[in-house]
């Protein structure tokens, strides 16, 4: 379980996160919906330990990551895997090297298995620049799974993909979460993805979580922002 309390983050005097309070239930898929540019990716970066919040706490298994030294924090954040919006594969490495990068025990069999799971058999020696957007996303998932994280963070995993490829990525996310029994947190503005695999939902707007709950509570909510987001209307 991830518990976020009163999380603040400011860039150049502009507050992006303004006191986020939120709980991500364990071994489930939680979706954070929100318009582009509201700071959803910033929230993920705080959880992954890539950036440090200005204020507040992020607790994983009741340990506050923000109060730990950097060395200890990295031991905890090492169990978190993140899929970045642009895949973030290392350009200078082949796909095989990308996958092997994070493996503690490197073996060809494990690399091949990871590639097979995402349908990229035979792509071992290709470079990221030789792959399409969907293939890159799948290779990034293979890299993510290779070090078996307990917490999976996905930043807009289907953005920029055609509907068929997006569907493949959605299935892969679901399979990955199930096989690892991991806690997954997905930030997106893709309602198709959200409705298909989300178990718990939250709406992020104006730097705070406006509403959260399970599928039924969330989609039946009368909250104007939720209704506006679902119907695609402008916020009243």
């Amino acid at each position: 379980m991830i518990t976020i309390r009163n999380l603040w983050k400011t860039y150049d005097s502009t507050p992006v996160l303004k006191g986020i309070n939120f709980i991500v239930p364990p071994s489930s898929i939680t979706i954070i919906l929100g318009r582009s540019g509201v700071g959803k990716s910033v929230l993920l970066k705080q959880i992954a330990g890539i950036e440090q919040p200005d204020q507040g706490s992020i607790e994983i298994e009741n340990i506050d990551l923000c109060s730990l030294s950097e060395h200890k924090r990295r031991q905890y954040t090492a169990q978190i895997g993140m899929l970045f919006q642009g895949s973030a594969l290392f350009d200078s490495m082949t796909i095989q090297e990308n996958i092997a990068f994070a493996m503690t025990e490197k073996s060809q069999a494990k690399i091949d298995e990871a590639l097979e799971n995402v349908g990229l058999i035979g792509f071992n020696n290709k470079y990221p620049a030789e792959l399409s957007g969907g293939q890159k996303r799948r290779a990034a998932i293979a890299r993510l799974v290779a070090y078996k994280p307990k917490i999976l963070l996905f930043d807009e995993p289907t953005t920029g993909l055609d509907p068929i490829t997006a569907q493949q990525i959605i299935s892969l996310i679901q399979e990955t979460q199930r096989s690892l029994q991991a806690t997954a947190l997905i930030v997106t503005h893709d309602l198709v993805l959200a409705e298909q695999i989300g178990e718990y939902f939250a709406l992020h707007d104006e730097g705070i979580i406006q509403i959260s709950g399970n599928r039924q509570d969330f989609f039946n909510s009368n909250h104007p922002l939720v209704q506006a987001f679902i119907s695609g209307r402008s916020v009243p």
Partner: protein, 264 residues
């Protein structure tokens, strides 16, 4: 008005120095404790060292030839052409060799390091590395520091040697100077101190090249245009720093020489 002209740039400069110092301190700590990716040394040694040899040879050779031609020409009407060799050798060893090699390495290696790290930063590859429990300093920065420290003295010595060779080639083949007249004063007046000064300067300049390039690269933002801006700033800052540190090191080394050997 005063704030925008004086205070904000001053604060930005202090922030820059502070962040730069923190990065350098952390990288040195990693190097001293051996906590970095040793496997990355070989490719960087090759990229920084081996692939720069031709460039520094050519540069050293060209400058040595010009120095020799100019020295011979300037000294000929004063009857001092015998000093051509020592002028070329001293200039190449203590001043032009280290500065020029560093300038060449800044353009060839420093700019490439900054552009590569900057590109990795804006495409979230650095964040991805961090999220996988690998600190970017361990993998991307520390091995480059070590490789630069090992290779730049070698490159500077090679450039200086090529410069002296080029100087001799011009003096003996173009102006008919006997090789012994060119080399004898060098053997007499070039001391270990000059070679130590050469190595010390190259080490300081190498540190400036790699640390400034890594700092600007890892702090790049704003897409491809941001990487371009970071690379330009990195190269300009490195050039200015090398010139400033060259002056300070020259004063320091001269004072040290007088302290050790006495003022003649």
């Amino acid at each position: 008005m005063i704030q925008s002209i004086f205070i904000t740039p001053l604060l930005n400069m202090l922030l820059f120095i502070g962040q730069y110092t923190i990065m350098v301190t952390r990288v040195f700590k990693m190097i001293v404790t051996g906590r970095f990716r040793w496997s990355q040394l070989t490719p960087h040694l090759y990229e920084i060292g081996v692939r720069s040899i031709a460039l520094v040879c050519l540069t050293g050779l060209a400058i040595g030839m010009v120095l020799s031609a100019q020295s011979f020409f300037q000294l000929s009407d004063k009857g001092l052409t015998g000093a051509t060799g020592i002028m070329v050798a001293k200039s190449m060893l203590v001043e032009i060799g280290p500065v020029l090699t560093s300038f060449m390495i800044t353009g060839r290696v420093g700019a490439a390091i900054c552009a590569e790290l900057g590109s990795m930063r804006v495409t979230e590859q650095v964040d991805a590395m961090f999220s996988m429990g690998v600190h970017p300093y361990e993998y991307l920065v520390a091995p480059r520091y070590v490789s630069m420290a090992l290779m730049i003295p070698v490159l500077t010595i090679i450039a200086s040697a090529c410069g002296i060779f080029g100087g001799w080639f011009v003096a003996s083949n173009l102006y008919g100077m006997h090789s012994q007249i060119f080399f004898a004063p060098i053997a007499l007046h070039v001391s270990w101190y000059d070679i130590i000064a050469n190595i010390l300067k190259s080490l300081v300049f190498g540190f400036l090249i790699v640390s400034i390039a890594c700092f600007y690269g890892l702090n790049a933002k704003g897409g491809a245009a941001g990487v371009g801006r970071a690379t330009t700033s990195s190269v300009v800052t490195t050039y200015v720093s090398i010139l400033a540190f060259n002056f300070l090191l020259t004063i320091f080394l001269n004072a040290l020489y007088w302290y050790i050997f006495g003022f003649n």
